[in-house]
């Protein structure tokens, strides 16, 4: 039944053309960034005070946000995909709310929920003296809030696509539900979890709106690279370009590395 494939690459023209246009659409802005990069002053810009701490903070907080998302998001995805709790479609819609919410609004929502006078935050503050806004923890929470839905959606999709008969077989062989989840379900959907985590991490790394609203902007404590880029843009567009390029390179390196090591062959 296989048709003869036109062209050496084996891609039909009808797919190749839009694919190339799509690629160009994604790459041309990056090209613009590269063309406008002040290469001669690059080392000096990168050595500027604050650049290292902003990059470090970005990497650490995006990684922590991904960890939080994994711990909370994988079970949530399981509940959405496998459980029979009533109102699941409503739950699913709620989970994806941060995807459609403008991030700045997400930041305000976080303030209203977890801020010093927030619905829950006021008790954190009056009982434990914990005030989340303007702390590094707030950066992690803001990023997790915005990025976790990516993970949940990816893992839920993988769970739905996975063959449940393996889990049933495990159960008939005497495995309890936790063992089944741990030894059968998770390994089976591992590629989905990895690609969800990668998406989540990438989204967290680029997070701006929710972070600057909920966590504020203070160098070394809450100023991640996207925040530094925004402020640099006000006075020194060249520095902003350099910072953007730096973040771009680091994220591409990490993503390529991850794909190669953990998800090679499945993407």
């Amino acid at each position: 039944m296989r048709r003869r494939q036109p062209g050496a690459s084996g891609v039909p023209v009808i797919l190749l053309v839009p694919a190339l246009v799509g690629l160009a659409f994604l790459v041309i802005p990056l090209l613009g960034l590269l063309v406008r990069t002040p290469w001669s002053s690059l080392p000096g810009q990168l050595a500027a005070p604050g650049v290292r701490s902003a990059l470090q903070l970005s990497l650490v907080s995006a990684t922590l946000a991904t960890a939080v998302s994994l711990v909370l998001g994988v079970p949530l995805a399981w509940v959405l995909a496998r459980s029979r709790v009533p109102g699941r479609s409503m739950l699913r819609a709620l989970v994806t709310v941060p995807l459609v919410l403008p991030p700045v609004v997400g930041g305000v929502a976080l303030l209203l929920g977890l801020g010093r006078r927030g619905v829950l935050g006021q008790y954190l503050f009056s009982w434990f003296g914990i005030s989340l806004p303007f702390s590094t923890a707030a950066v992690v929470l803001a990023e997790a809030f915005v990025a976790m839905p990516f993970l949940v959606v990816a893992v839920e999709g993988a769970l739905r696509a996975a063959d449940q008969r393996y889990e049933q077989a495990a159960a008939t062989l005497g495995a309890d539900r936790w063992t089944t989840f741990r030894r059968v379900t998770v390994p089976m959907v591992a590629p989905g979890i990895v690609s969800g985590a990668v998406l989540c991490w990438a989204r967290a790394l680029g997070e701006f709106g929710a972070t600057i609203t909920f966590a504020g902007n203070f160098p070394g404590r809450t100023q991640t690279v996207p925040l530094a880029v925004y402020l640099a843009l006000q006075t020194d567009p060249q520095a902003a370009i350099v910072l953007s390029l730096l973040m771009l390179s680091v994220s591409v390196l990490v993503l390529v590395g991850l794909r190669g090591r953990w998800a090679g062959g499945l993407a």
Binding site: P102, V104, V108, L111, G216, F218
Partner: protein, 313 residues
């Protein structure tokens, strides 16, 4: 100095281009005003209302500002211009104004229209530099009211302004604290107290530059917890009670109403924003432009501006 209270231009620069281009010439009468400020108000959940408003506004073509003789679009869109009018003034007058003037100028436009039934005022609000740029590129404006002297000077240099700009308002910084003043803030000295939660603008943006100036004059080294990207972000954090004090403009405190308490301080005189207004060169409706400028600078305009927290020039 390049300081203007709302810092909208820089905000606008960060917005998608399509947003910016939708700014020109919203009609006052049918729907109200969409501005750069709408992006901020979305913070307060008002985005839906303003989006509807925005949809009611359409970018005007050059015909929108047609003069007294031929005004097809104006006559079509504005019921008032069909009425028999005072012979002296008629047609549309297009006013480009800094976003911090949104409320005041909207009110003034209404009362100006009542005083001159033949005239229809079209308002367009935005960051002063953005508006100046639009005017320099031939936007059909009659009047330009800037929140920043440097921006106006630049427009004059570009031959986009007719005559000499006139100062009509000033604005100064004020301490804003949440209702109840939980941090017991009384003066600028509180900004150096590490036990208080403090928000100020980042020094890269105009309100931050103004703040730095007053701190320098007062001899205070502030200990902020966050350096916000614009003055409204500071105001939001004060309104929500997340900080004990923030430094904003006096007019912002007035806009926030009962949600924040403003505390004036003597060193604010070190950074005064001056607002100039001028007729645009090649204004389609120069007679109405002059009348509107006189109106703003006259007793009614003065009173409205004072009410909004602006100072006298």
């Amino acid at each position: 100095m390049a300081e203007h209270p709302m810092d909208h231009a820089r905000r606008a620069a960060a917005l998608p281009r399509s947003n910016r281009q939708r700014t020109p010439a919203c009609r006052v009468r049918p729907s109200g005003i969409a501005t750069g400020r709408s992006a901020r108000l979305s913070l307060l959940g008002l985005v839906a209302v303003l989006t509807i408003t925005l949809a009611g506004c359409s970018a005007s073509t050059s015909g929108a500002a047609a003069g007294p003789s031929a005004s097809p679009k104006g006559a079509l869109a504005s019921p008032t211009s069909d009425r028999p009018s005072v012979p002296a003034l008629s047609g549309n007058v297009v006013v480009f104004a800094a976003a911090s003037l949104t409320k005041t100028f909207t009110d003034l436009a209404h009362s100006f229209e009542s005083a001159h039934p033949g005239v229809h005022v079209q308002l367009s609000f935005g960051g002063s530099p953005t508006l100046a740029q639009q005017i320099e590129q031939g936007a059909p404006a009659d009047v330009f009211a800037s929140a920043d002297q440097a921006v106006m000077a630049q427009a004059v240099k570009a031959a986009a302004i007719a005559g000499t700009p006139q100062t009509f308002a000033t604005n100064v910084l004020e301490i804003a604290v949440p209702v109840g003043n939980p941090g017991h803030v009384t003066s600028l000295a509180a900004f150096a107290d590490p036990s208080l939660r403090i928000a100020v603008c980042a020094v890269q943006v105009p309100c931050g530059a103004a703040s730095a100036k007053v701190f320098a004059v007062a001899g205070i080294t502030p200990r902020p917890d966050t350096l916000e990207q614009d003055v409204t972000a500071v105001l939001t954090k004060v309104e929500l009670g997340e900080v004990d004090a923030g430094l904003v403009y006096r007019t912002d405190v007035a806009v926030a109403g009962a949600k924040v308490l403003g505390i004036p301080f003597p060193q604010s005189g070190a950074a005064v924003n001056i607002y100039p207004i001028a007729q645009v060169a090649h204004a389609p409706n120069p007679a109405a432009a002059v009348a509107f400028i006189d109106y703003v600078r006259g007793p009614i305009g003065r009173q409205a501006l004072a009410q909004a927290g602006f100072g006298s020039p």
